[in-house]
């Protein structure tokens, strides 16, 4: 079924692309939304029917554990619900968002659906390789979607930044997964054992960095605000609700494997707490409503990473609850910003006013979602925040103090930027002109926002979705979200956070800081440009177009690779010569060849080549190879004749070469000769067994029906090879004919 659903997505991409020219953007979006809708309905049915394990796999290379392996467990089902459910709503929303005559509809719908497919694939993956493939696919589709308005250089820069950072993170993740799979001795994610040791630490750090790039953790967060250049449906879907959760999901599923690795907790807490605070501060400094939400996402993701790094049962449960609640309220808020943007033409909070009365439904949705984000009752966000605060109570020592202070401060700032967002967009101000309502934009936002309240009312159902997912990761995570926690310390903390946050929020609502300089993005771009410039320089230097230099470099590299043969050479099997005549022939060959290298005249060179060939023929006779000797003599004769005929028109002397370059060539050639000699000697010292001479002889006579064993091998045993050789010679002959048929260029005039 999993594969069928993926097939639906891919078929959808194909259909959207095929119909792209005939249909406008709206029908294409409706078509694209079908597959996520089906997938979401399937997830709901599975949840109601109760879950048993759903595993599917397509084996590619069995022996190497290379397979597309999927398993839809409770966590995957929860994520499917979010990815496909929000996906379907975003497609509906996009129909309202784009004007009827917008161009680029097929590209947008196909990329968005392609992303949806990659994301469900990532969520369902149960092999580290499958996970990695879909992880990279989400980066690529995200790049296409961020860069959708491909005429604007700043948009393209933002898309490039996002691709480079997440792409580099993907490579780091691959390294981490390799170490993890090696150490755990399995590639199946759901069967990863707890690993430790130095490799465990290395794997944990690499995986954490990979996850941090995807989930926009400080200092890799710089791509996320830039990605807001994408159309708002994309920001709502990819950059708040789903794709940025991929890193969190990765930490969740690999967390059990790293349970004993101290670096996982330490580095994870560092990433999470820094991001939570810095993201919230960033949100307070922005004047653009969409950027406030983007920085808020960084902060919220930081809280999830913090909880997963702690790894206790309660913390994991709280992280999964937050993941669920955050997807609902943050997607809703983004959709509202998009509607405000489309209907008023601006997202700057100091230019918006009176929207509470002119856009009442959106205001209601924003209030619900905002309260959920701030963690106020009676909403899902409140219960999740309670669970997070409660999980801090089980810690001890310095860790408890640091994490509690960080999370507390982060939560206070969260309340503040939520207030700033809601009052900035909907609060009083110079009245803004508002275009007519677009229902297709209002309804999805309202649906997602009210789900936060409905979820609070039917908290039992939410628990049935969240609890099994958390228990799968950590058996100790068997908790429930509470509608009313009672008068406990976490509840007191919640109230305190709300109070302080509200006070702080009202203090900063009217402070218009404007849009601060994106310093981080500048630095990232400068780094990328530096890499590109260095790459151009290196390419210019290495690939400069001279064939002799290329060949010299290749020969030198190959020779250096043969260096190990020089050590521990076994010389016991070597004799000076098998037959005395060998030495004479060898000397003759070497002298002729050396003369050929240095003789200045072309004719002389051709003659030395003939001498070398004749000497080699003599060696063949000594080694009992009359066929070779005959062939060689014939070939040599033709070559020398050809040489004289073919190059007869050329100048008598070779052109002179420069001194320094000649010395380099000479040195590399000598090195090459030495390494070939050493490799050959090493091969001789490590001979394996005897040649099956008797078998070859019997085979030639009985099966080939010939006495000349070499001939039988060529015409019988390797007949197909010999046929290929004949074809090569025929091709060469044709080529020579074509090349020879040339007239000198005529001089014009």
């Amino acid at each position: 079924m999993v594969l069928v659903l993926l097939g639906f997505h891919l078929a959808g991409v194909g259909m959207v692309l095929a119909l792209g020219r005939r249909l406008g953007i709206r029908p294409l979006l409706a078509l694209g939304g079908t597959a996520p809708a089906i997938s979401a309905v399937w997830a709901v049915v599975q949840l109601i029917a109760g879950s048993s394990d759903r595993t599917s796999m397509v084996t590619w290379v069995g022996g190497l554990d290379l397979e597309l392996r999927f398993k839809v467990d409770s966590l995957a089902l929860l994520m499917t619900l979010l990815v496909s459910g929000i996906g379907a709503l975003v497609f509906i929303y996009a129909i309202g968002y784009f004007n009827r005559d917008t161009t680029g509809g097929s590209r947008f719908s196909a990329s968005l659906l392609g992303f949806s497919a990659s994301m469900v694939g990532l969520v369902w993956a149960d092999s580290v390789w499958t996970l990695f493939i879909f992880w990279e696919l989400t980066s690529v589709t995200s790049f296409l979607l961020v860069g959708h308005k491909n005429q604007d250089p700043s948009v393209l820069a933002a898309a490039r930044r996002a691709l480079m950072i997440t792409g580099a993170g993907g490579l780091i993740l691959l390294a981490g997964l390799l170490v993890l799979a090696q150490q755990a001795n399995t590639t199946i994610i759901s069967e990863l054992p707890a690993i430790g040791g130095t490799s465990g630490t290395i794997a944990a750090i690499l995986v954490l960095v990979g996850a941090a790039t995807k989930s926009a953790q400080v200092p890799f967060h710089v791509w996320l605000p830039g990605a807001m250049a994408a159309p708002t449906p994309v920001s709502a879907y990819l950059h708040s609700a789903t794709m940025v959760k991929a890193g969190v999901l990765l930490l969740a599923v690999t967390g059990p494997a790293f349970a004993n690795v101290e670096a996982f907790t330490t580095l994870g807490l560092a990433f999470g707490l820094t991001s939570m605070l810095w993201g919230a501060v960033g949100a307070l400094r922005q004047g653009d409503a969409k950027l406030i939400l983007a920085w808020g996402t960084i902060s919220q993701l930081g809280l999830m990473v913090t909880l997963l790094a702690l790894g206790t049962g309660k913390a994991v449960f709280a992280a999964i609850s937050l993941l669920f609640a955050h997807a609902l309220f943050k997607a809703a808020l983004f959709l509202i910003v998009g509607e405000v943007d489309v209907r008023t033409g601006t997202r700057q909070i100091d230019q918006l006013g009176g929207l509470a009365s002119s856009m009442p439904l959106s205001f209601a949705a924003a209030a619900l979602a905002g309260l959920s984000m701030a963690g106020a009752p009676p909403l899902l966000g409140f219960t999740a925040k309670e669970a997070a605060l409660e999980s801090l109570a089980t810690l001890d020592g310095v860790q408890q103090i640091v994490v509690s202070v960080g999370v507390g401060a982060g939560s206070v700032l969260t309340v503040a930027y939520t207030l700033r967002f809601v009052f900035g967009v909907f609060g009083p101000g110079p009245p803004t002109v508002v275009a007519p309502r677009r229902w297709l934009m209002t309804i999805p936002a309202l649906t997602l926002a009210s789900l936060g309240f409905v979820g609070y009312l039917v908290l039992g159902w939410v628990n049935d979705i969240v609890r099994p997912a958390a228990v799968e990761l950590n058996a100790a995570a068997d908790y429930s979200l509470l509608r009313w926690p009672g008068l406990t310390a976490p509840f007191g903390a919640s109230l305190g956070i709300l109070a302080v946050g509200t006070a702080l929020g009202f203090g900063v609502i009217r402070r218009n800081v404007g849009t601060p300089e994106p310093k981080g993005a500048r630095t990232a771009d400068a780094l990328l440009d530096g890499v590109l410039v260095a790459a151009s320089r290196a390419t210019g230097r290495i690939q400069h177009g001279s064939l002799p230099v290329y060949l010299t470099v290749m020969a030198a590299t190959a020779s250096l690779a043969a260096l190990p043969f020089f050590t521990g050479l076994d010389t016991s099997g070597l004799v000076l010569a098998n037959q005395p005549l060998e030495m004479v022939l060898a000397a003759a060959i070497l002298v002729s060849a050396t003369a050929g290298a240095f003789v200045g005249s072309r004719l002389g060179a051709a003659l030395t080549l003939g001498a070398v060939g004749t000497g080699v023929s003599g060696l063949f006779v000594l080694y009992g190879a009359p066929d070779l000797a005959l062939t060689q003599l014939l070939v040599e004769t033709i070559v020398v004749v050809g040489f004289v005929i073919g190059l007869g028109h050329l100048a008598q002397q070779f052109p002179a070469a420069s001194g320094g370059w000649r010395l380099t060539r000479l040195a590399v050639s000598v090195l090459g000769g030495l390494s070939v000699t050493a490799a050959l000697a090493a091969a001789a010292a490590n001979s394996v067994g005897q040649a099956p001479l008797a078998d070859l002889k019997a085979g030639a006579v009985d099966e080939g029906g010939g006495n000349n064993i070499v001939n039988v091998i060529l015409t019988d045993m390797r007949a197909l090879d010999t046929l290929g050789e004949v074809v090569v010679l025929a091709t060469v002959a044709l080529g020579i004919l074509a090349l020879a048929n040339v007239r000198p260029p005529e001089v014009p005039g």
Partner: protein, 125 residues
């Protein structure tokens, strides 16, 4: 294994490499031919000790030379023959068109290098 042949292979490889890194196409051609010889002798020496011609009706199996490397060497000789003649035709064509047989630097590569150089100076400026 015979040291004489080892040295021959090494020497021929050296000369061959030196020649194929030259500018003149006819020298490159000589180099290819000589490298071909080196490869054939290497095959022969790797096949074991010398013996009588591998003819089934003349000698017993213990006296004959290993026929497998001979078959491989025969293929090698023929292919290197084809390659040499093809290069010869190329050199001749080059000479007919330009008057000499020098291998020029690849124009496309030069253009790429030049373009990147200007791009990088612009980016740093």
């Amino acid at each position: 294994m015979s040291i004489a042949l080892l040295v021959t292979v090494g020497g021929l490889t050296t000369v061959g490499l030196y020649l194929i890194t030259a500018r003149s196409l006819s020298r490159i051609l000589l180099g290819f031919s000589i490298l071909g010889h080196a490869a054939v002798i290497a095959l022969l020496t790797a096949g074991g000790p010398p013996g009588n011609a591998p003819l089934a009706d003349r000698d017993s199996a213990s006296d004959i030379a290993n026929p497998v490397p001979q078959a491989l060497a025969l293929t090698a000789i023929v292919i290197s023959f084809g390659l040499t003649l093809f290069l010869l035709a190329l050199a001749r064509r080059q000479q007919a068109l330009t008057g000499d047989d020098l291998v020029e630097d690849d124009l496309e590569d030069k253009r790429i290098a030049a373009r990147l150089q200007t791009a990088s100076t612009e980016a740093t400026a």
